[in-house]
């Protein structure tokens, strides 16, 4: 029973205030989804996941916990490894590049209506979509 295996993770999600928490086992894969109140809570959940299933290789859990962004957060840091971050005309790597943001630069978050592709604006005023994985909200 996967809910037993990942009990510590589920309990932690409950106690740390993850909103709209969903826990469902579908075809031998446990799905846990919800909205974490902070990035710290999300990191904690991934640490517990790593403890139960080292390096996340078992393939029996899909952990989809987003971080709720405060309304007043409008700045994001570019967290690429070292390269520039592409800013594209639309949400997708098939979209033309309309600008770039430098590694570690802080730019403006316009909206997050697309979960993977956030609409951003650089300090030069270029606006477009960047991959959310490389953007970290600045409190």
């Amino acid at each position: 029973m996967l809910q037993e295996k990942y009990k510590e993770l589920i309990d932690s999600a409950h106690s740390s205030g993850v909103a709209q928490l969903q826990v469902q086992e579908i075809e031998n894969v446990l799905h846990i989804a919800g909205e974490a109140p902070s990035g710290i809570v999300k990191d904690q959940l991934w640490d517990i996941y790593n403890k139960i299933d080292p390096n996340y290789l078992a393939g029996d859990l899909v952990l989809d916990v987003n971080v709720a962004t405060a309304v007043n957060v409008t700045k994001v840091r570019v967290t690429t490894d070292s390269s520039n971050l592409n800013i594209r005309k639309g949400p997708g790597t098939d979209q033309p590049i309309v600008g770039k943001a430098a590694h570690d630069e802080i730019i403006t978050l316009v909206n997050k209506s697309n979960k993977q592709w956030w609409l951003v604006r650089t300090n030069d005023g270029e606006e477009g979509y960047s991959y959310a994985q490389y953007l970290q909200p600045v409190e």
Partner: protein
């Protein structure tokens, strides 16, 4: 002047109306309790026009909704919302949404673009991966893939570089 008399009378009338016709605590409590019947587990107490809500619900939306449902009630001066939130498994309302293969394939292509040496195949909602990468990079990729709505992320072909 007649008009000044009218102006003088209006405030007195207004005050006397407020005193005589304002609903008392018991009336407000009865009405609020009736309104809250649809929200199980919440109780209301009214004292000197201050409404205190207590009880337990499964999420923040229900807490806000309970307050919104009663705040227009006449005679309430302020609301103390003491409702606590305990998410419960039984509160699951919507099923986990799964992405269709076409949309998932595109999303996986976007997600894996910057991971050289990793290949991904999507079939029946299952993302199957092959390749070697560092533990940190794999964690970052897995976090992204889990957010795409897959049925499963099959990592049996992934090797973690030491």
């Amino acid at each position: 002047m007649k008009l000044t008399k009218v102006f003088a009378v209006v405030p007195i009338l207004a005050i006397s109306l407020m005193v005589s016709c304002g609903p008392n605590d018991a009336d407000i409590q009865a009405k609020v309790t009736e309104t809250l019947k649809t929200v199980p587990g919440i109780s209301a107490q009214v004292k000197e026009g201050v409404l205190t809500l207590s009880g337990n619900v499964s999420d923040a939306a229900a807490k806000t909704a309970a307050e919104a449902a009663v705040k227009e009630e006449k005679g309430i001066k302020s609301i103390v919302n003491n409702i606590t939130i305990t998410p419960s498994l039984s509160s699951v309302v919507a099923p986990i949404a799964m992405a269709a293969d076409e949309a998932l394939t595109k999303a996986v292509r976007d997600a894996t673009k910057d991971y050289q040496g990793v290949t991904a195949v999507v079939k029946d909602g299952i993302i199957s991966l092959k390749g070697t990468l560092s533990a940190d990079k794999w964690k970052r990729l897995k976090m992204t893939l889990d957010g795409l709505g897959p049925k499963k992320v099959d990592a049996s072909g992934i090797s973690i570089a030491k």
